[in-house]
């Protein structure tokens, strides 16, 4: 006789586990013979959620791949060196030409006028040399070559422009367009500009001219806000080339960008939108998860006889759990596979939308990574929402399984199940956070989703208890409707949770979008200046002030000197070695506007720490810094910043911090220098004017005709452009949010379907007892009306709180409640619920009583 050892026991234990698993798989396969009957909602919920995540991810990847594939063309070269206010020195240029193929481009914002000066617009002027473009191809409407179009004929230079410029100025091919002190003949219309996709919002249409003609415009003056780009094609690894460049020209003051990071603006934009849409997609999946849970619960309830029989025949709890868990997993994979196919093909369907919304060509194909991510999310959600029903089926004693739903008591799922639940929920949350570009935002989302789930759960409990506790209504249909909210097995909880979550997202999105839109469209426009005038030369100030201040309709003028500078070090540490919070990295990313002032600004900012320097200060350089940015960088009074201004590095000490209100759209600067350090540097001035809307055009004409180098930026137009971008993003977000509503609707449909048999039975009995069709329909309408209305009210409340939080805390803007948006979504939800409820139960009304009533 062998003595049992712990090793033997362990082995037997393992074998028994494997045997149970095998048996479970065998039983599962038998269950699968029934196909997907009873699982359609389950499959649809998973497929929808997974498709949303996979679709968003795939489209995003397609765009990113497109950006990456065209990176050289988008950047204009393999390396782009950008200098502001100045050109490269001869020495630098010689070195660049000796070490690669160089194309020089100058960009400036300026005004363009038609020949007779009757109309004018702000344009993005770009002067290109004969090597442009180094990569990619510029396409013109007439099909000719760019270099042939950009020539000089009879002393007049030619240029090519966006169709928008010709349209706005009423120009035809061959017409003259005035820019600065010269004019250009419009040779052709630009169809495609390979390196245009560097920014989401352009302030005006493009006019492209030969670089040789730039000097004739008279726009390049000391301090004017122009950028010189040197795009280089190199024959060695980019990093090595940049290292050699840096070794040769330290502190050159240029911003170096290589094609590995060709379009950070678009990349950031795509990343942010992707993150937002992915999280909304995840909400869809979570909402669908409620449907998954309901389906699994209903399915397992329908299998009670089978489970009871299996248990009576000796099946262990473990075997039951594994059998049905495997069954659910197999079906989950089917639903997920459908979602992956739809999601994976989304870029193909989205191609025209991408082309319309983004200035890049997406690389359309199937991408594995977003699909793997969506697959993982799908499996985790399926498990998360199935564990509790599975554990209940496992734990309910065989005898209890024979009883009907009324006798269901709460059954403690068990510590192991709760641990498993916690593990899956943590993994899901972790994956949502880790896979996000902005993890803090994703963390907020996860926390918000958890809070929303708990809040909706308790709200549902509250509704059920309140409906039970309320006095019996006298009106019979109302009493039946109210009672139906709290009946055993009533779908109240899952409908409030699922439809409510989707609706909350929609209300939040609509309110945020509405707030931004209203803020931009109304609040800002009321307080914002009508114009920014940029590139005022110092010697033009007196005349400019005289012209503008005496102009009819002008109410207020603000003007400050402006230079461009780049923060290179913070407390002696180079900024590229400092981790900056994503919301503030724009401050260190490139050139920023700087000014110098004797007196503190009177509007738009307040000194909140430290002291402003005396008006006659003439000591070492001091700066006044943005208080919010200082907090983000963890710096304060006495800390130092190194700022490169026109190639000269200035180390300045922070003397005070200002709290800046960016919403006013007045002139605000992150960095303000003390007097004595920038006055002598080449600089321009920037002016704001508050002017009556009726005088705007006349003022623009008067200023830009008198000073051709000065550009007028119409704030109204910029905000309108901004609004249209917000609207486009809003459309995308609302579309995905609609998927969350669709998932909620599926859950609602599922809940109605699950209760269908009961409703048919109830309707028949009601008829037997003398209820007319009107009585039954009345009760149904009231029930779904109450359910829809309650869900909508809770969602409106939670969505409003969420939107308020985002607007006030994240965007730090003023909150405006928009009742129309909330009322509209509330009405839609209620109507949707009633309609679906009625459609789902209409069949019940037409049922013949006899077949149900005959003795079995």
């Amino acid at each position: 006789m062998s003595v049992p050892t712990s090793e033997n026991t362990q082995r037997e234990h393992n074998r028994a586990g494997i045997d149970t698993m095998r048996l479970a798989w065998r039983l599962c396969r038998r269950e699968l013979r029934a196909g997907s009957v009873g699982f359609r909602i389950f499959l649809a919920c998973l497929a929808l959620g997974v498709a949303a995540i996979a679709g968003v991810g795939s489209v995003s990847q397609a765009i990113v791949a497109g950006l990456s594939a065209d990176a050289r063309a988008l950047l204009g070269g393999e390396v782009d060196l950008r200098l502001t206010h100045m050109k490269a020195s001869e020495e630098q240029l010689t070195w660049l030409k000796a070490n690669g193929r160089v194309s020089a481009v100058t960009e400036i914002r300026t005004m363009a006028r038609n020949h007779d000066r009757t109309s004018r617009i702000l344009i993005e002027l770009k002067a290109v040399d004969e090597n442009y473009p180094l990569f990619g191809e510029a396409k013109l409407s007439a099909g000719g070559l760019l270099k042939d179009a950009l020539t000089s004929r009879n002393g007049v230079w030619s240029g090519v422009a966006d169709a928008g410029l010709a349209e706005r100025l009423g120009l035809s091919i061959g017409d003259l367009v005035r820019v600065g002190e010269t004019k250009f003949r419009l040779a052709d219309v630009i169809e495609h500009e390979p390196d245009r996709a560097s920014q989401i919002i352009a302030l005006g249409p493009r006019l492209m001219i030969p670089l040789a003609a730039m000097s004739e415009t008279g726009l390049i003056k000391p301090g004017s806000l122009y950028h010189h780009h040197y795009r280089i094609s190199v024959d060695e690894p980019i990093k090595d080339w940049i290292a050699r460049l840096n070794a040769r020209f330290d502190n050159a003051g240029w911003r170096i960008r290589d094609y590995g990071n060709a379009t950070p603006g678009i990349q950031r934009f795509v990343d942010r939108v992707t993150l937002f849409l992915t999280l909304v997609g995840l909400t869809t999946l979570l909402v669908g998860g409620v449907g998954v849970g309901n389906s699994v619960k209903a399915y397992l309830q329908s299998k009670t006889d089978t489970i009871a029989t299996l248990k009576c025949l000796g099946a262990s709890r473990q075997l039951i759990f594994y059998t049905y868990m495997l069954h659910i997993l197999v079906l989950s994979l089917v639903g997920i596979a459908i979602g992956l196919i739809v999601g994976g093909l989304t870029p193909f369907a989205a191609r025209p939308f991408i082309a319309e919304y983004l200035p890049v060509a997406a690389n359309i194909r199937m991408y594995p990574m977003p699909l793997i991510l969506a697959l993982t999310f799908g499996i985790l959600v399926a498990i998360l929402f199935s564990i509790i029903p599975l554990s209940r089926a496992r734990n309910v004693p065989a005898a209890s399984l024979f009883r009907n739903l009324i006798e269901h008591h709460y059954i403690w799922p068990g510590t192991m199940v709760l641990l498993m639940l916690g593990l899956v929920a943590t993994t899901l949350s972790g994956l949502a956070i880790i896979s996000a570009d902005n993890r803090i935002f994703a963390l907020y989302f996860v926390a918000g989703a958890a809070v929303a789930f708990v809040a909706f759960h308790f709200a549902a409990i509250l509704v059920i208890r309140a409906s039970r506790a309320m006095p019996t209504p006298r009106y019979t249909s109302l009493r039946i409707a109210v009672a139906n909210l709290h009946r055993p097995g009533a779908p109240t909880s899952s409908i409030i949770l699922s439809l409510g979550l989707g609706l909350t997202v929609l209300v939040t999105v609509v309110l945020i979008e509405g707030n931004i839109s209203r803020q931009v469209g109304k609040t800002l426009l009321e307080d914002a200046p009508g114009f920014y005038f940029i590139d005022l030369q110092t010697d033009q100030i007196t005349e400019f002030d005289a012209l503008v201040s005496s102009f009819p309709g002008v109410r207020k003028i603000g003007r400050v000197p402006m230079l461009r500078g780049r923060i290179t070090k913070i407390n002696g540490t180079p900024v590229d070695q400092i981790t900056v919070p994503p919301d503030y990295d724009w401050i260190t990313r490139g050139d920023r506007g700087l000014t110098w002032l004797r007196e503190p600004p009177t509007t738009g900012s307040n000194v909140v720490a430290g002291e402003w320097w005396p008006a006659d200060y003439s000591g070492p350089p001091l700066i006044s810094f943005d208080a919010e940015a200082a907090r983000a960088f963890d710096i304060g009074i006495g800390d130092t910043l190194n700022i490169n201004v026109l190639g000269r590095e200035i180390e300045a000490k922070i003397s005070n911090l200002r709290l800046i209100d960016w919403n006013t759209l007045g002139i605000n600067f992150v960095i303000v220098f003390s007097p004595g350090w920038l006055e002598a540097a080449p600089q321009t001035h920037i002016a704001t004017t508050h002017v009556d809307a009726t005088s705007e055009t006349a003022l623009e004409a008067a200023v830009t005709d008198r000073f051709p180098n000065i550009s007028a930026i119409r704030v109204r137009e910029v905000l309108s452009n901004l609004n249209s971008v917000v609207a486009k993003i809003g459309t995308a977000v609302r579309s995905i949010a609609a998927l969350a509503i669709a998932a909620g609707t599926l859950v609602l449909a599922g809940a109605i379907a699950t209760n269908h048999k009961r409703r048919v039975y109830d309707a028949v009995i009601f008829k037997v007892l003398g209820a007319t069709r009107r009585d039954i329909i009345g009760a149904l309408i009231l029930e779904f009306f109450l359910l829809g209305l309650i869900t909508a009210i809770i969602s409106a409340l939670m969505g409003s709180v969420a939107a308020w939080g985002v607007i006030v805390w994240v965007m730090e803007a003023d909150w405006v409640f928009i009742p129309s948006a909330v009322i509209a979504t509330t009405v839609i939800c209620t109507v949707l619920t009633v309609a679906l409820g009625l459609v789902g139960t209409w069949y019940a009304l037409g049922q013949k009583a006899v077949p149900l009533l005959r003795n079995e």
Binding site: I406, I480, Y761, D762, I765, V768, A771, A849, N855
Partner: protein
Amino acid sequence: MIKLGDLHLKLTTDGGDVKILRGINFQAEAGERVSIVGPSGSGKTSMMMITAGLERATSGTVSVAGSNLGKLDEDGLALFRRHNIGIIFQSFHLIRTMTALENVAIPLEFAGRADAFEESAQSLTSVGLAHRLTHYPGQLSGGEQQRVAMARAFAGTPKLLLADEPTGNLDSETSEHVIDLLFELSRKSGTTLLLITHDPTIASRCDRIVHLLNGQVDYTETLAEVNPHTSSE
């Protein structure tokens, strides 16, 4: 109270037409208690369903409590049942998600009775279920469920009570209690009773026994004929 004249019922099935009733003629006076007996498939339940307005006859006339059911639409039939009929089924047919009290109150509520719940509570008390008002059907025994169904059927004091094998799902002891109660309630309320049963003992407690065979009335026995020594309940 009930007049069925040359009643025919034909149902169309996949296998062709099936004649369920083949010319039934039947009358019952107000307050009379009639049992319908016959083998399975003889048409007992169909006859009762037509009498309740739950099934429409293919041909023939149906007059119950002065209403010509053939002329009523579906809602008219519902209103007719509301004011005239109480039904007890073998399978009880209670609404499982409603408490005993709610189940009994439902027809009264449909009838717009303001005292629906008070009346229902009284009705349940009269069947000995005062302590079960808030229980759901699943929490009640078969006998208790049938008593709830009886309380529901009698709650509106119907003119006609239809009972389709009310003890079919009950054990003999419970059956006896339920039938005693049924006859007692029927006697107290003066309701006409049409009772389908397979049990000759129960059938013999009625004033008259109608035997159905192949969808026709085979023959009828009066109480005196069945048991000359027993008086009616």
